[in-house]
């Protein structure tokens, strides 16, 4: 596996927008928008993120408002504060890691292990809990696998290709390049 490049949003930096790419990302500052990272994302204790995060492995020590989707794992360390849903094959919440939201381990509907299934049968009273996760994952699960396989262009969670940028792109010859006509 190629080594990912590294991106660091420093403590005194604020980013607002969409971040995408095959990189590892460390957030020490403030981030608002969307993240579709083919790599590991780490939110340091000083980091604050207002965005949904979709990455391979996600480690949080700071504050996040958004849903976290890890293709491999999600770890909330002591000091983490997350308001949002957590979905990953493996989820670890250390003592002191705080979350308010829906948490689900495993790969949604795709790779539910036997205990989950038998649990659903044995607990009719919990039917609404058992079915809701399956429903919410019916669509994203195959798309997530797609996103994990894709090597080239990064796709957003949900399997869509990146739509037009939020901020208008400065095209050569227009606003950005105020060249004088010859």
């Amino acid at each position: 596996m190629a080594t990912n490049t590294n991106t660091i949003i420093g403590r005194d930096t604020r980013v607002r927008g969409r971040l995408a790419g095959r990189t590892d990302l460390e957030v020490q500052g403030h981030l608002e928008g969307e993240l579709a990272i083919e790599g590991d994302v780490r939110v340091d204790s000083t980091g604050t993120v207002a965005a949904d995060i979709h990455a391979r492995r996600i480690v949080v020590r700071g504050a996040v408002k958004g849903n976290l989707t890890g293709d491999e794992s999600i770890v909330l360390e002591d000091g983490a504060r997350v308001v949002g849903d957590l979905r990953a094959p493996r989820v670890t919440i250390a003592v002191g890691g705080l979350v308010r939201g829906y948490v689900e381990t495993g790969l949604g509907g795709a790779r539910s292990s036997a205990p989950h299934k038998s649990a659903a049968h044995h607990a009719p009273a919990k039917a609404h809990v058992a079915h809701t996760p399956a429903k919410t994952h019916a669509a994203p699960a195959p798309a997530k696998k797609e996103a994990a396989k894709k090597d080239a262009k990064i796709t957003l969670a949900g399997g869509k290709t990146a739509p037009k940028p939020v901020v208008p792109v400065l095209k050569k010859g227009t606003k950005g390049a105020l060249t004088k006509r010859r």
């Binding site: 403030h30 604050t48 993120v49 207002a50 504050a63 996040v64 408002k65 794992s73 770890v75 504060r81 308001v83 493996r90 989820v91 670890t92 919440i93 250390a94 003592v95 002191g96 890691g97 705080l98 979350v99 308010r100 939201g101 829906y102 948490v103 689900e104 381990t105 495993g106 292990s113 205990p115 989950h116 649990a119 659903a120 044995h122 607990a123 009273a125 919990k126 809990v129 058992a130 996760p133």
Partner: protein, 129 residues
């Protein structure tokens, strides 16, 4: 070795920790004054004044588990309402909402449900939902 089925209410006397062994199957509500350790199968609410432990091969299906500290290593399909810490070990398989003073989930645990810890996000992220 035979299974023991108890219908309706089943109370556990207070004192030392009560252990419901691996071969015990209970259908009904369990209440306890002290600590309770479930190693078998329980179908019904569990309301315990002390700490509750669900063993690795145990299975609990109910609406609610109430206790001080709750430690789960087995299968639980219930909402957990603890006044103390809730800990899911690496062999835990839990479906239900968790509420407690502290929630921790070890790597390897299987879980689906809500966790509602009580805290505030920093001001830069606005109020939590």
């Amino acid at each position: 070795m035979g299974a023991l089925m108890a219908q309706a209410k089943r109370s556990i006397s207070h004192g030392g920790p009560a252990v419901l062994g691996a071969s015990v199957r209970i259908r009904g509500r369990i209440t306890g004054e002290g600590d309770v350790s479930i190693l078998g199968t329980v179908e019904g609410d569990v309301v315990v004044r002390g700490d509750l432990t669900v063993g690795e091969h145990a299975k609990v299906d109910s609406e609610t588990l109430e206790a001080q500290a709750v430690t789960i290593a087995g299968e639980v399909n219930a909402d957990v309402n603890a006044t103390g810490p809730v800990r899911l070990g690496s062999t835990a398989r839990v479906r239900g909402d968790l509420k407690g003073s502290e929630i921790s989930i070890d790597d390897g645990a299987q879980f689906a449900g809500r966790i509602e810890a009580d805290f505030e996000l920093p001001a830069s992220l606005g109020k939590g939902r």
